[in-house]
């Protein structure tokens, strides 16, 4: 038992040196940029370096609703062109419904509706009432797609603001986590990612009289939209056709610009969008084309002549900043669904620095006290335990750096706690040795038995703590997760140092001299 094979000694030393080696970058944090990517200091969490954490929810119900509305519009067009009379066409819950009053038209209507969309199941209920429901898979896919697209667009928008090293990742089904290191006021970013920025061009329905508009009466296929804040000199409400003539998806570029000394946003369509825009303007000269952003009409100019170049301007009552933001949003693309901020946590650089300082001070004091305590209690062997403790700290720091883990303030607490608990394994071993020696065993025998008997208890005790740490990691978020990581690594490394490193030192001590009694 008290014999170490050469390779084992080599392995223990190699692991200790590796821990030391990978901790080094933390001492030269200032030059981290010049170090290779596999040899970096541990990443500091947002609570230490300062920064902003946002948890966003994608309102995916909106995309499902939109898809149903589109379904209703295409059903309307199909039924009309087939001259089938219908009543009660609209969205109900998660399906679209329509009733065909004439019995002889129902079969044909059923066929037409079934052909509208593969992702829709049509059921013919009693009395000519048809229910068109999106299949479960189709809805799931649509929601999923909306979240994926939202992540891409949020990334583009955040990148455009020049934030360094943002992290944008999906959480669960419909959520997005945005982490912005170094950002201490995320208001502008929240404003930017909180806007859907869906740009659509609709024709204004000029059949609706001002009286009807005020009373809110519209023919089917037409809806009333409010004017946007920036709308310059237009009416407060517009009756526009629901049909989207050209959508902002087709934009390839948008820039802030000036027209007649007024800030405007100029935009350019891709080829398909450009020709569509050309055709719409060609066919509707003299009508009003509403420029609609997020359901609000910015302006509705009269189409004086066909616009065939595929580009145009959006004018309104804009400030220069507003045209810059709008152009940025249009370039990055529209969000498929609105985003809501569910959670926001921002730590300013001042508090972060204070936390690092407090954490470092607490760690240092804890370390000094534990060192004094161990040496006072166990003398030479206590000193060995202290060496093992320092190696343990290097291993912990090295492992955190190597794994690219994030050190948070609770993570620092985890390190402090590890220091307290790391010596526990040594205390167990030393106490057991003392006990065996008192029971009359020889020096060699008590040391050997001490290690062997204590080992069982050490494993059981540490595995149970590891179980708790594992669940903490699974259920925790952000800083708490960081705590679980440091605690887990600390438990594993402390078992290694207590059992292997201390034993190596004790064995070496035994071999180097003629010892008769346990020095503790």
């Amino acid at each position: 038992m008290l014999y170490f094979a050469k390779w084992k000694i080599g392995l223990v030393l190699a692991i200790c040196l590796a821990g030391l080696f990978f901790s080094v970058p933390n001492a030269i944090r200032g030059q981290a940029d010049t170090l290779p990517s596999w040899w970096q200091p541990v990443t500091l969490g947002l609570d230490l370096q300062g920064g902003s954490y946002l948890l966003l929810e994608v309102e995916t119900d909106v995309v499902v609703r939109e898809q149903l509305e589109a379904l209703v519009e295409s059903a309307r067009a199909e039924l009309r062109s087939a001259r089938i009379r219908y009543v009660g066409l609209g969205v109900e819950g998660t399906s679209a419904v329509v009733t065909i009053p004439q019995v002889d038209q129902r079969d044909e209507a059923g066929r037409l509706l079934a052909d509208l969309d593969d992702a829709v199941t049509v059921t013919d209920e009693a009395d000519g009432r048809f229910v068109m429901a999106l299949t479960e898979e189709a809805m799931l896919e649509r929601r999923n797609q909306a979240v994926e697209q939202s992540i891409e667009i949020v990334r583009k928008r955040v990148d455009e603001t020049g934030t360094r090293e943002p992290t944008i990742q999906r959480q669960g089904q419909t959520r997005i986590i945005v982490e912005l290191p170094g950002v201490d006021d995320p208001q502008r970013i929240k404003d930017l990612i909180g806007r859907t920025a869906k740009l659509n061009f609709h024709l204004v329905d000029d059949r609706v009289s001002p009286q009807e508009l005020n009373a809110g009466q519209t023919p089917p296929g037409t809806e009333i939209m409010p004017a946007a804040e920036n709308n310059a000199g237009g009416p407060p409400r517009y009756a526009v056709r629901k049909r989207v003539e050209v959508s902002g998806d087709r934009l390839v570029d948008a820039q802030p610009n000036f027209q007649d000394n007024q800030p405007v946003v100029s935009f350019r369509f891709d080829t398909a969008g450009g020709s569509r825009f050309g055709r719409v303007t060609q066919e509707n000269v003299g009508e009003n084309l509403a420029i609609v952003l997020d359901g609000q009409v910015i302006s509705a100019p009269v189409i004086r002549e066909p616009i065939l170049g595929g580009s145009g301007v959006i004018s309104g009552r804009f400030s220069v900043q507003e045209t810059q933001d709008l152009a940025l949003l249009l370039r990055a693309g529209a969000l498929p669904a609105p985003l809501t901020v569910l959670e926001e946590r921002t730590v300013g650089p001042g508090l972060g620095a204070d936390s690092i300082e407090a954490g470092a001070l607490a760690s240092l004091l804890g370390l000094v006290l534990v060192v004094v305590f161990m040496i006072a209690s166990y003398g030479l062997f206590g000193g060995m335990a202290v060496v093992a403790l320092f190696i343990n700290l290097f291993l912990l720091l090295g492992a955190l750096s190597l794994l690219g883990a994030t050190l948070t303030l609770p993570g620092i607490a985890g390190i402090v706690l590890t220091m307290g608990m790391a010596v526990d394994a040594n205390v167990l071993i030393f106490e057991r040795m003392r006990e065996e020696a008192r029971n009359g065993r020889t020096l060699m025998n008590s040391i050997e038995t001490g290690f062997r008997q204590a080992f069982k208890a050490i494993v059981d005790a540490n595995v149970t703590t590891l179980v708790a740490a594992g669940l903490l990691f699974y259920f925790g978020s952000g800083p708490v997760k960081g705590f679980a990581v440091t605690l887990s690594i600390g438990i594993v490394s402390s078992m290694f140092t207590a059992v292997m490193v201390t034993r190596l030192m004790v064995v070496t001590w035994l071999r180097r001299g003629q010892h008769k009694a346990l020095p503790i």
Partner: protein, 325 residues
């Protein structure tokens, strides 16, 4: 060689088990008190769980708190509290607890309004906004985490020991967690995510302590098949006493340095841990081990191969072990 400190007298033979009834009464009283307090005044949930807004800001100059409070109350956001925080007189903390039916959008708007009142020249040290939806989910996740970790630990002990030990460990764990929760409720300490982390850590710590003693109980059970259970448990407790005290002290030292120097953010976390270490050590000695008396520990089941029994180096239970402490 300098004399080493011996914090515990060697070879103690304290009769811990004699006081097990007193301890039982004390534990039951504390647990009932905890349940009553949790039932009557609940926990003082921080914004992590209750949802709401917390803003910690450094004003350009020491603010007129009365005027600032009036302006914040003028926003009509519900319960707004404004306090000084930390050592710098310019630092203020604003907490807003909105009614339960607040939507996430209203929450965001409220934060914007507060920032509007504070103006542009403040330095934001901390801004936290937790929407009502997330708050509820975090409570749920916290309950799951604590319950599952207790369960997982118990299953592990059952697997490694016998079911009686698993039951004892579970009772001790629930005892520790419940009384710590009760303390947070009685003292109205803020209960947030890091407190849950502290609860899980103290569960891990407490069980760590318990397992070490259980390990020794099992060892003694195999060795002394005829010794009365009460005496055997006393023996195991006395043999591990010095370790129990030493480890609790080193860990407590580390945690106390966190409590006093770790800064405001970690204060509740360290307080929960410090209390947990004390209660965890107590529960090992006076809950987890005495409870074994009430079970018929089938010695045959735990008696396995044990080389130490044959080695016979152990002095065996001295008569002193049976003497009162």
């Amino acid at each position: 060689m300098p004399r080493l400190i011996n914090l515990v007298p060697v070879d103690t033979s304290i009769d811990f088990m004699k006081r097990r009834l007193h301890a039982l009464v004390l534990s039951v009283v504390l647990m009932v008190a905890a349940v009553v307090s949790l039932g009557v005044q609940q926990l003082n949930f921080g914004i992590d769980f209750a949802g709401g807004i917390l803003v910690e800001a450094r004003m350009p100059a020491e603010p007129d708190m009365g005027a600032l409070r009036d302006r914040l109350n003028g926003l009509g956001l519900g319960a707004v509290s404004l306090t000084h925080i930390g050592e710098d007189a310019r630092d203020v903390m604003i907490r807003v607890q909105q009614p339960e039916d607040t939507t996430d959008e209203q929450e965001s708007a409220a934060l914007k309004a507060i920032q509007g009142v504070l103006g542009d020249s403040v330095e934001y040290r901390r801004v936290e906004l937790v929407g009502p939806k997330v708050g509820g989910e975090l409570i749920e996740a916290g309950i799951w985490a604590v319950s599952l970790s207790i369960l997982a630990i118990v299953v592990y002990i059952w697997f490694r020991f016998e079911w009686q030990f698993a039951v004892g460990a579970m009772v001790a764990l629930i005892h520790d967690v419940l009384i710590t929760l009760g303390l947070f409720s009685v003292l109205r300490l803020e209960f947030d995510l890091t407190t849950v982390a502290a609860l899980l850590t103290l569960a891990g710590y407490s069980i760590n302590d318990t397992v070490v003693v259980y390990d020794r109980v099992r060892e003694k059970l195999r060795k002394f098949k005829k010794l009365a259970l009460v005496d055997l448990l006393n023996l195991a407790l006395n043999k591990t006493l010095s370790r129990t005290i030493l480890t609790s002290l080193t860990t407590l030292i580390a945690v106390l340095s966190l409590l006093f120097l770790g800064g405001d953010v970690l204060r509740n976390f360290s307080a929960a841990l410090a209390f947990g270490i004390i209660i965890g050590t107590y529960s090992t000695v006076y809950v987890a081990v005495p409870i074994l008396v009430y079970f018929d520990l089938r010695r045959e089941a735990v008696a396995g191969e044990d080389p130490e029994a044959e080695a016979g180096a152990d002095g065996g239970p001295a008569p002193a072990d049976k003497a009162g402490g």
